[in-house]
Point group: D2
C-alpha cells in the first residue's frame, strides 16, 4: 500500500481499504464542492490548491488517499447533488463542465444521503421522537453506510448552515448529529459555529467515546486574515485601538446569518481570535449582511485603527473577496483525512493540534496562524509514527 | 554629565554607563523621531508603543536603558533638530508640544551632529578627498563623540534617504559611513535599502572587524504586511497569481524614491520578501509615487489575486496608511539597543537573528514574520546569558 | 461696536449691517468649527475651502459678508467655546494655533449662548414647562440676541446631535427650537436628521410664518458621494444590485448614532438619496458604528454590486475618510448666508433650491448633485435680483 | 436575406432597411462582445443593461433597431469570432451558453471581416503600399460590405488595441482606417486613445467629408468615475491636492498598455478629464500594469487627497472592478446607432454632443458627466426632429 499513488483509480481496487466521509448538510455548497473537488483532484483534473494535506509535509503521514474516500450524509433538503453542482457552476463557484465530468461520483454520493431532522414537519409527528430516538436514527444511518460500503473508518463532518444559539437545556440538531457520530464510533469535526459537541449534556459522552474530534468554526476568510494580522500588531508592539468589520454574503449562508442569533454565534468566534492574538479586545463591531446579489461570493472589509510610536494614528484596511465554499471544501477534505488517520492510529479526544483550521479550537493551543501551522506539521509527523499499527481498522469507528 | 537632560531621572546617575547612537542622516524624519521618542519614553511622557524591546520578553536581556542613550550623527543638511521636530509636529508626525518638552535633548543631540559627505560641493574640493580620507574623517567624528561623552559603546545606524544603486566599483556614501563604523570599532545597522556593508569591497573588512552588524532595509509598512500575508497563502496552499502594489508617499522619502534607481533598490527588498515566503515570485509590479501633498504620511495599496480550490479566483486588497517615521523610529531604538548589548556580550558578525526587522536580512533565517519573531525572542534570551560579563566595556566599539 | 473682533477689518464699519447666526447645539463640533472658521476666513488666515458661497457664482448675490456675522445659540452643555476649540485642535480638526488666533471671537460667541432644554433636569421642575413655554423662552432668547446686537436679521441653524425619532404626538426638542425660530420671525435651517419643522403640528405655522426655511440633514460625506454615483449608474443604464455601507465614527456623533432610533433617522436620508437617483431601492444595509478611537474622524465604506452588459457582475467600492465637522461647518456658513439674504429679499417658505446641501430636502427638486448645483446657481442669481430692495431689513426676522 | 438569423424578428423584414457597423479590431474583446450582445438583446435573451440608447429618452429618436445592424470589420488576427466568443465565456466576460445561442450571428459577422494592416509582414511587400493605397483598400472593403448587404448606411468604429503615439509625420494605422471611413462616406467613431482622425494630415478631409464623427477614447471605468467625482469636489469647493491611480488589467489590453507609449496616450485622456473638471491639474500619477492573471477583468484604484475647511486633510479612495469589454460594448452599440441616425438626418462634422461617451471628446462641451448627459438627451431629441426626412438613405455613407 505504501507506494499507492493517491490520485489514480487503482487505489480503490477491491482490496484497498475505503473510508467514509459523512457530511451533515450533505447537499449544501461546502459539501457539494468537497465531493466534486475530491473527485476532480483524485482524477487529476485539477491541482489540489487549498488542500494543506497535499503539501509535502503530509506525504508520509499515511493519510487515506482522496480516491479512497466515499461520501454520504444527512440533509433536510431534496435537491440532488448533480443539480446542486450545476447551480454552483452557474454561480462561478465550480468550473463549467466539472459537474458533468464527475457526474458518477455525485450520483454515488447522492444515493448515500439520508433525511436529516428534526425539521418543523417532524414536530407534528405522533408520537414525537425524543432526542435519543433521533440520535439512534442518525447513528443507524451512519453504521448502515459503513456496512454497505465495507468502510475501514468513517468521520462525520458538520458543514450545515449555522444554527441559532440553542435554548438552555435543549439539544440543538447539530448536537444530535454529533452525539450520533459518537454513538456510531466515528470521529467528528464541527466546521460550523453551531453547538455540536460543545454542549454540557455531551461532555461526558465525548470524553469516554474513544474517538478523535475537532472544531469548531472553520477559519476561511476574514478570521483567517485576523489570525495573521493580530499577531503582527502584537509582535510589533503596536496598539490596536479599534477593529471593525463588515461581511457581505449571499447564498444560503447570508440568509442564515441574517438571523441575529446565528450571527452572534459566528461573531463570537471572530472576536475570540482577536482577543487571543492581541491579548486584549479592541473596540469595534462585526456586521454580517445578507446580500443575495453576491450569490456564493463574499466580501469582508476590515478597518483597523492602531497607534504607533508616540501615539501616531494609523489605519490598515483589508478587503477580502472570496468564495466560502471554495475556501472551506479543501479544508473539509483535509480534516476528514486527518481524523480518519488519527482514528486509525488510536489518537482520541479533542485534537487541539488542529487549531490551524478553526476560529474556536477545542483543547489548548496557540492563536497565531504561524504557530498553529507549526503544531499542525508536528501532528502530521505524529500520524506517520511507524510504531503504531497503520492498517488496523479495528479501532476506527463505524466498522464491524 | 552636566548636560544631562533634566527629564532623565536617576537611571542615568553619574556612575551608570552611557551608550552612543550615531545616526547617519541625523537630521532626517526618522532620526528626529527617534531622538524625540527616546527622550519622551524615558521621561514617561508616552508609552513605548512600537518598541519591541520594551515588551516583557526583553526585560532580562540587559539592554541599555533608554535614558542611557546619547545621540549624535552625520548629516549633509543644516536644519537644527529642534526646528526639524517642530516641522514634524506641524505635519502630525509628532504630538504638538512634545518638541518643546524634549527641547534640551534635541539641542544636545544637535550639538553632536557633524557634516556628512561627500556632497556635490565636496566634488570641487582640491585636492579631492579619497574614499579612504572620507572614512577616516567619519571614523574620527565617531571616536571623538565616544571620547567626549565617555561612552561605554557606540552603534552606527544608517537612516539616511535611500541612495541610487551605485555605479560598479565606486563606494557610495552609505558604504563610506559603514566602513567608518567598522574602522571606529562600532556595531552597524543599515535601516535603508542603500548599499552600506553590502559592497564587495567591504566584505573582508566586515568579516574581520569583530563587531556585530545588521540590516538591511527596515520592514515598516507594506513589506511588514507582506511578511505575514505571504506565509498565510503558502501555509493554506493557496496559489498567489499576482501581487501588485502602489505606494504613495510625500516627505523627502517620496522625492528620493521617485528616482527610479533608488526605487529599484527599495523594490528589490519588497520582492524578495514575497519570493521567500511564497516560494515563487508572482506576477505584479510595485510603484512608488512621490506625492508631496501627503507630507510624512504614506499610503500603500496591495492587490493580491489568488486561486483557491478548483481554480476559483479570489482577491485580497490591503490599504496601509501610516507614518514611516513613526513606524521606523522605535525599531531604530530597538536595533540600537540590541546591537549595543550584542557588542557588550562579544557577539560579532552578521546578526541573522534580527531578520524580524528587515526586508533583506543579513545571514540566514526564516522569511515569515512569526518565525522571525521566535528567533528574535531566542536572541533576546541569548543576550541575557549570565555566563558572560555584562559590563565589560572592553570589547565594544569606539570606547577607550 | 467696541466688541468688534480686532481681526475683522474695515468690511464691518460701524454703519454696515450685522447679521445673526443662532446655532442650536452651539457648543458642538460643527458649531465651534463654524465660528472659528468664519473668523479665520474673514481675517484672511485661511482660504474659504469648502464654502460654496465664496465661489465666483455667488459674488453678486448680495450675501452678508462673513465679517458681518454674529454668533449665538442654545446648548445644554457648559464647555466654553474656546476650550471646545482647543479640544478640536488637539484632535486635528482645527489647525493648531487657530483657536488662540480667534480667541476673541470665540469668547464673544460663547457669551451669546443660552441654556437649551428640555433636559432630564427640567423634567423635575415644578410646575413643568409646557411645550409652548419652552418655545417662548427660546424665542425670547433669540429676540434678545437680535436686539442687543442690533442685528439686521437672524437665521436659526440646527446643528445639534441627532435625536431619536420622537414618540407620536410629542414635540421633540428640535421641533421646539424650530417653532421658536418661526415665533421670533427668523429663517430656519435643519442641518440634522432630527424632526425640526418636519412635524405635523408645525405644518400650519411653517406655512404662515413668512420666513424662509431649508433642510434637512446635511449631505457631507457618504451621501454626498452617493448623490453623484447614483446618477452615474442611472445615466449609464447600469443595474445596481446591492449598495451596502458601513460608517465608523467617533466623537459625540458616533455615540448618538449608536442609538438605533437615531441611526434609523439618519439612514432614512441616505436611502432616500439612492432610491431617488437610481429610481429603485437596491439591496443592502447601512451600518453606523460608534468607534471612539476615531475621534472626530469618520470612515465610510460603500460596496456597490452592479450588473453590466449581458449580466456581467462588477463592483465599485469607495472609502471616504473625512472629518464631519470640517465638511459641515462651511456648508452651515453657506446656508446661514443664503437664508439671511433670502429673508432680506422677501423669499419665504421651503427653499427647494437648496437640495444641493441636504439628504432629504424640503420642497421638490432633482436628486443628482449636478442638477442640484445648477439649481443652486440659479438661486444665487435670483438673490442678486436688483429689482428688490437689498438692504431693507424690515422684512427679515428677529429685528425691531 | 435568407441567412437572416432566426432570432431576429419582424423588425428586419425584407423591406426594412439594414445598417452596417464596421469594426476596426473586429476580432477583439470589445467587438466580439458587441456582436454577441447585439444579437442577444435583439433576441430578448438579455435586457439591454448598459445601453443608454435603450432608455426611454431615446425611444423617439428614430435610431436603427438592434436587429437591423449588420457587422463586419478589419482585423489583423485570424481567430474566428465564434471561437473568440467561447474564450470570453470561459473568462467570465460572456455568460456560458450565449456564444452557442448566437452562433449564426457570429458566423455571419466573421464572414464580413477583412484583413487589416499594415502589419510587419506588409512592410516587406514589393512594391510597398503607400498610405493612400492602404486607404483605398480599406475603403473598398467597406463599400463592398455595404453593397453586398444592401445597407442603408455604415458607420466605422475603431475598437482596436491602443497604438503607440505615432512618429511625427507618419500616418498611424488608426488614421488610415479613419481616412478610409471618410473616403467611403461613412460616419466614424474612435473609441480608443489612438490617433484616428486627430491627425493634422486629416483635418481638412474631416472638415469636408460631410459625415458625422465622434471620439475619442471611451470613458468606461476609472475615468467615468473621475468625471463624476471631479465635479463633486469642484462644486463643493473642496481643494483636491493629489489624485493618484493604478490600473491592473490583463487581456490583450494590459499587454498593449504596458508599452509606455500606448499608456501615455491613454493617460493623457484620463488627466484631461481631471484638469477639465477640477479646473486645475492635481499632483499624482496614473499607472497601468499588465497583470495577465486578471484575464479580461480590470481593477482600478484611485486615491484622492483633498483639503476641506481650514486645511483639514481628507481622503477618498475608489476601487473599481469591472470588465472593460462589457462596459465598452454597449456604448459601442449606442454610438453606432447614434452616428447612423445622425448621418440619416444630415448631421455632419464633429459631434461634441457625445462627450458623455469619451475621455477626450471632439468639439466643445462640458466635462462633467451630468452636464454631458443633459447634452446627450438634447441630441437624442434633435435626432427625432420630424422636420427632417427620416428614411432618406441618400445622404448617409457607403451606399450607392
Amino acid at each position: 500500500m505504501s507506494a499507492e499513488p493517491s490520485s489514480v483509480p487503482p487505489a480503490s481496487s477491491p482490496s484497498a481499504p475505503r473510508y467514509g466521509v459523512w457530511l451533515v448538510g450533505a447537499r449544501g455548497s461546502v459539501a457539494t464542492t468537497a465531493v466534486v473537488g475530491c473527485a476532480a483532484v483524485a482524477a487529476g483534473l485539477h491541482p489540489p490548491t487549498g488542500m494543506v494535506t497535499e503539501t509535502p509535509d503530509f506525504a508520509t503521514s499515511g493519510l487515506p488517499p482522496l480516491a479512497s474516500l466515499v461520501f454520504g450524509g444527512h440533509d433536510t433538503v431534496d435537491c440532488p447533488l448533480p443539480k446542486r453542482a450545476e447551480h454552483l457552476a452557474e454561480g462561478g463557484v465550480l468550473p463549467h463542465g466539472l459537474p458533468a465530468a464527475v457526474h458518477a461520483e455525485l450520483v454515488a454520493a447522492d444515493r448515500e444521503i439520508r433525511p436529516g431532522g428534526p425539521t418543523l414537519r417532524d414536530a407534528d409527528a405522533v408520537p414525537a421522537r425524543t432526542d435519543d430516538d433521533w440520535i439512534d436514527v442518525f447513528a443507524a444511518d451512519i453504521r448502515d453506510f459503513a456496512d454497505r460500503n465495507g468502510l475501514a473508518g468513517v468521520v462525520v463532518v458538520n458543514v450545515a448552515s449555522t444554527e441559532p444559539a440553542p435554548a438552555a437545556g435543549a439539544l440543538p440538531p447539530s448536537s444530535l448529529y454529533a452525539a450520533a457520530a459518537l454513538r456510531a464510533g466515528c470521529g467528528y469535526v464541527n466546521f460550523t459555529p453551531s453547538t455540536g459537541l460543545h454542549h454540557p449534556a455531551l461532555a461526558e459522552l465525548a470524553a469516554s467515546a474513544g474517538v478523535p474530534y475537532a472544531g469548531r468554526d472553520g477559519k476561511t476568510g476574514q478570521t483567517l486574515l485576523r489570525s495573521v494580522l493580530g499577531p503582527m500588531f502584537q509582535q510589533r508592539a503596536l496598539a490596536v485601538r479599534a477593529w471593525s468589520g463588515t461581511n457581505l454574503l449571499g447564498g444560503g449562508d447570508g440568509a442564515a446569518l441574517a438571523d441575529p442569533a446565528a450571527a452572534a454565534a459566528k461573531n463570537a468566534g471572530k472576536e475570540r481570535v482577536l482577543a487571543d492574538t492581541l491579548g486584549t479586545a479592541p473596540e469595534g463591531e462585526v456586521h454580517i449582511d445578507d446580500v443575495p446579489a453576491l450569490g456564493d461570493w463574499k466580501t469582508a472589509w476590515d478597518h483597523i485603527a492602531f497607534d504607533g510610536f508616540l501615539g501616531s494614528r494609523m489605519i490598515l484596511q483589508t478587503i477580502w473577496q472570496g468564495c466560502d465554499s471554495a475556501l472551506a471544501a479543501p479544508l473539509v477534505l483535509d480534516l476528514a483525512r486527518l481524523l480518519l488517520r488519527a482514528g486509525q492510529q488510536g489518537i482520541t479526544g479533542p485534537l487541539g493540534e488542529l487549531g490551524f483550521y478553526f476560529k474556536d479550537p477545542v483543547g489548548d493551543g496557540p492563536a497565531s496562524l504561524g504557530e498553529q501551522y507549526t503544531e499542525l506539521k508536528r501532528f502530521a509527523a505524529r500520524l506517520s509514527d511507524t510504531a503504531r499499527p497503520s492498517h488496523d481498522a479495528g479501532d476506527s469507528g463505524a466498522q464491524r
